[in-house]
Every structure is written in structure tokens, then in C-alpha cells.
Symmetry: C2
Subunit: 353 residues, 2 copies
């Protein structure tokens, strides 16, 4: 990148801010008959129950998240300010049968929040209704405008970033669990979201993998701005620096986040990068060493607190034995954040130590 | 990135191809009075003389690249098929005074190629004229549609990537000079462009820093597709893995390029990253070691041929002494590709050895 004259090549608006969502939410479950396609809804219910006023579905659909069932008018009266598309469809489409329900939500006073691949405003009925009623159609796959080029300047406050040996093994849930644990200990802590579900849970954030490459680190910088010296930003990691498709995004997020502390996320038993059988998952030692080396560029004092180990599928006894054995083997705290207990509290201690 | 079900989150069109420009060119110099703002034009004249039919300027402008001066009608008759905006303006704007000349070019049968920040089609007179005459308005800051997610699969043929200790120190010119030297030795070699000027010089390429982060490595993969076993793709590097703003783009390009050979580009005397005085330029040893380590993810056999040293400002004798001294110090071939001679031929030998 020829950046001798940055002002002439890229507009920089230091005032750019993360996406900020209207809330709380009415969760729209579409025409789902079970919770298979409700990953977003499950995440919201489990991690942001205070934001979930009610659920709403197409006539005849049978799936439920166990929330009160309300119409958009009822949900607005109960405080809801946005309808969230909580169901995924194949291909990320907005299904035609959903449109009348979304129009009804706009008419009832709700904005619409979507992580679908289709853009809400490309649907004429939604666009016209939103314009007529002055509502917002918010696609959280679309990054906020005016993201800056990263400056590399240090910011005040403390930062933790979850990193991974692969994609899809618990970086979001680890960050959510750590932020909750920090708050439970009386600390000021914010979860900083970098993916769609995370942004809905937090009510704000930046979809970091949808940002143009030159601005990835800059987006990460504005995601965790200057804060009080004792405040923790717990940042949702993305991808892996060992992933041949996504390592660039992971590195930009690492550099822009300037983490003081890393937690390495790993899935027990996963030996190959998901979908890329030619690529082995790195060893824990290799992953910690290289991630720390790269992270030192923007924060020389960075440390790794330990490993978040995804033990899904194991019994509680098996998981406890495994995490203990791994902690011995790797010489650092190891815990599955989905299983509260002493191991996880030990990982939290290490993060704060 | 949650990629458990890629098909539902990102469209993949394996048929995406790099930008391909109509050529040869009529170079439009705008209202420039000297060559300060003609960096693109100078690069084209020096590196792609066979593509430069003529130059064309606003009335009263005084700058020249020394090419024949022609009107669009004359240039079309002489074979030109595109007018290239060869002048840069502050802020990357398309200046109002240029528009009549660009309209005349469209009317004369030429497409228009621009690397400006403003989009050509956002100018109504250009859009209308292009539509009326069936011409193309090509913004080479805009990546081609449908870029794939990287697969990490090895491709046939040989690849060399220029990498750097910073931005703006000669990665493009090094790649151009090496590709030319390979061809001078009778080898099949293509320069693969990743930035605006490079794309104009090559007539094709992908503006890698304008690609959405998730697709950076995938774009690099389609930029240097499968080729004959003895064919060399010499790929223009971008940024630096040591640059806190752009390292992610550099890493995605590195992984997707799968280089067999690296040439590290460095500027003599530069001790700080341009524009970021808190960030030191890495040592050559550190840069080679970390770049090779990261590159091994997608090509375990990668090697570093040597250092391309930018010695601008030194006398020929000083430059020769410096490159010799650096070669001793770093233990590998060192040459300034802008100064042909035995040192550069030695670097070429190392690339091919």
C-alpha cells in the first residue's frame, strides 16, 4: 500500500463509531419448526436475556425459545424497539413469507435488525414501509461508514482478546463468559462484538470480517476506545492466524485490539481446520508463541492467560479430567467456559492477575 | 468467523477473475503543470511503454511525459482503446475541468480507466455518455465481483512475492524488475498486480487493499492461478506484516499467494514506519524470519532469495558499496533493482536457484 500521502488516498473520519442497535428486541423466529435454524435466537436468549422482550413467529410455525409470545404491537407496548431476525435460512435469504410480519413490525413502531445475507432495503415493501413510518432497516453485515486507517497509538484501559486455533470453536462464548465473570467480581467490563450474533447480543459492535482489509485494524481500534484505567474490554476474536482463508482478518483484529491479555480458544479433539483437511490445527504451544509474537507489535506487554477448551460432548467428569490434564501438559490454566467451576475461576484469576 | 456452513454465509463464485483492462492507453495528464502529480503516468511510461500510445492534456496544461500528443480521435485511430487518468489530484477527486475531455474520449471510442477515489459512474455526464456509446467506466479501486474465500489448495507453477519492512519502498518496482529479468533470461513470467498503478501497468490485477478482509487471501489465490510448472508469477506485495495498520492485508496476500520465493524490500536509512514514528522498521533478520514462518502455512518450501534495497539518493558508487556491505552483513544477495548490474543479476540468480 502506497501510503506516503494517506490524505489523498483514503478518507479518514475519526468520528466513525460501531453499529449501535435499538433495543430491547422482539425476536422473530420466522417459519422455523425447531431450533436448528435459531442459532442467533438461542445466543440472544442465553446471553442477553434482558434484551429479549418476547418472540414472534409466522402462523403455524412451531419453534419456540421459551419467551413470551407477542405481536409487534404488544411487544412495542412492552418496551421493544427493534424486531431481530433470529432465524437463519439457507443462503442467508429473507424469505418471502416473512415480509408481511416484518411490515407489521415496522408499522407497530419497531426498527428491524438483520444479519441475513439479503439486504433489508433491497426488499421494496420493507423499504417503502420504513420510509413511510420513519423506521430504520439495519443490516449488521454492513460495517459502519467512515472507518479509519489504524494509527497504532496506544489507548487507555485494559483489553482482552479471545484468539483461536481455528474458526468456530468458542471465541464469542469465551469472551461473553469472561466479561460476565469480570462483572460478577465487581469489575467494569464490556463485551466488544465483532460478529453478527455478538453484535446483536451486545447491542453494538463492528462486523470485522465484512470490513475492507485496509480498515480492519482501524475498525478494531475504534471498537475498544480509550477507557478508564481499570476498565476491561473483552473482545470477541475472529478466525485464526493459522487459518489460510482468514488469518489476515485475525491479524488486523489482533493488532488493532492491542490486547493486554489473550485467551487461546481450542476445540478438544479437532485435529484439522474445519473444511480444510490439508491444514492441521496448530499445537497449543505453537499457537501461543506465534500469537504473542505478532501481538507484541502493538502491545509489548501482552500475555496469554490460558486456554479456553471446548469440551462439548464430554460428560462433566470427562471434561473435568481433560481440562486438568491439559493444564498440566500446557503449563497454564485451562477451562471450558460453558462449565462454571473452579477451573473457569482459575482462568479468570489468570486473566486478571 | 463462524464458517461451519460457509454456503449459508458467503456466496462463492469460483469463476471470479481479476480486472482486465482494455488497452493500449491514451494517458490523460489533466491540468498538471509538472510531473509531481503524474506518478501513475511516470510508472506507465517507464514500465509499460508498449501500452502508452500517446498523451492528452487540458488546454494550457504544461506537464508532459514525452509521449506523442494526440486527441482522443487520433489516439483511437492509432490503436488506443482506453483513456487512463494518469494524473492524481488532491483527495483523489476527478476534477470538473477534466470532464469535457473524458466525455470526448468516450465519444471517440475509448473506455475510461481510473484509480481516483471518486467513482467515474457517479459523474452524470460520464455515466450518460458511456451508456449512450456503449463504453466502459472502469474504477480500478473497485475489486472484481464474486471473489472467493481462499481454499488453501496448492496451485501449479512457481510464485515469487515481494514483501517489505514497510509500505512505499519499492515492492512494485522490484516485482516489475524481476519479472522483466526473468523474461530477459527466456523464462515465462508474469507480473501480477495488486495495486492501482501496478494494475494499469500490467493491464490486469486486483486492488488487494480494497477487498473485504474475508476475501483477501481468496483474491490472492485467483490472481496467480494454476500455471505451467516452469512459469513464474511475480506478485506485487502490499504493506508489511510489521505495519500496525496494514499487516492483515499483507498476511492475507502472503497466504493466498503461496510463494515459493520471497524478496524482502527495504529502504536504506528508514528507521521508522512512514507516518508512525512510534513504530520501528524491523531488522532484516527479524523480517525474513517472521515472514518465512508465516508463509510456511500455505507453502512449506518457501525461501527468501535476498533483499531489494532502495538506495534512492545515493551516488552509483555509494549504492554499490552499500549493497555489497549489506550483502555481507545479512548473508544473502542484496541489490537495488533500479540499478542494473552484477548485484541485481545475483539477486535474480538467487530467485531462480
Amino acid at each position: 500500500m502506497v501510503r506516503q500521502t494517506p490524505a489523498s488516498t483514503a478518507p479518514v473520519f475519526p468520528g466513525a463509531t460501531p453499529i449501535d442497535l435499538p433495543r430491547p428486541y422482539l425476536l422473530f423466529l420466522g417459519d422455523a419448526d425447531d431450533t436448528t435454524f435459531l442459532k442467533t435466537g438461542l445466543g440472544l436468549r442465553d446471553w442477553a436475556p434482558g434484551l429479549c422482550v418476547a418472540e414472534y413467529r409466522c402462523d403455524g410455525a412451531r419453534a419456540s425459545l421459551g419467551l413470551p409470545s407477542m405481536t409487534p404491537v404488544e411487544a412495542y407496548a412492552a418496551g421493544a424497539r427493534a424486531l431481530v431476525l433470529a432465524a437463519a435460512s439457507i443462503g442467508g435469504a429473507i424469505r418471502p413469507g416473512w415480509i408481511p410480519h416484518l411490515v407489521a413490525a415496522l408499522e407497530a413502531g419497531l426498527d428491524i435488525v438483520s444479519g441475513a445475507h439479503d439486504r433489508l432495503a433491497d426488499e421494496p415493501r420493507l423499504r417503502k414501509t420504513a420510509e413511510a413510518f420513519g423506521r430504520r432497516l439495519i443490516d449488521i453485515r454492513t460495517p459502519p461508514p467512515g472507518l479509519p486507517i489504524a494509527t497504532g497509538q496506544r489507548r487507555t484501559g485494559k483489553r482482552l482478546l479471545t484468539v483461536g486455533t481455528d474458526c468456530a470453536l468458542g471465541k464469542k462464548y469465551t469472551a461473553l463468559a469472561l466479561a460476565a465473570a469480570f462483572r460478577a467480581r465487581g469489575l467494569a467490563a464490556d463485551f466488544r462484538a465483532t460478529g453478527q450474533t455478538g453484535i446483536m447480543i451486545a447491542g453494538s459492535g463492528i462486523p470485522i470480517d465484512a470490513v475492507i482489509g485496509d480498515f480492519t485494524a482501524g475498525a478494531a481500534e475504534i471498537l475498544s476506545p480509550d477507557a478508564d484505567p481499570d476498565h476491561w474490554d473483552v473482545i470477541e476474536g475472529q478466525g485464526s492466524i493459522f487459518h489460510p482463508s482468514y488469518a489476515g482478518v485475525s491479524l488486523g483484529l489482533l493488532h488493532g485490539s492491542q490486547p493486554d491479555m489473550l485467551v487461546l480458544c481450542h476445540a478438544h479433539g479437532r485435529e484439522r481446520i474445519v473444511g480444510l483437511p490439508d491444514y492441521p490445527v496448530p499445537s497449543i504451544g505453537e499457537a501461543v508463541a506465534l500469537t504473542l509474537q505478532l501481538a507484541r507489535l502493538t502491545n509489548a506487554a501482552v500475555r496469554c492467560a490460558g486456554v479456553s477448551l471446548n469440551t462439548a460432548g464430554l460428560s462433566p467428569a470427562e471434561a473435568a479430567m481433560l481440562t486438568e490434564r491439559c493444564a498440566d501438559q500446557w503449563g497454564m490454566p485451562v477451562a471450558d467456559p460453558m462449565r462454571p467451576g473452579p477451573a473457569f475461576e482459575g482462568l479468570v484469576d489468570a486473566c486478571l492477575g
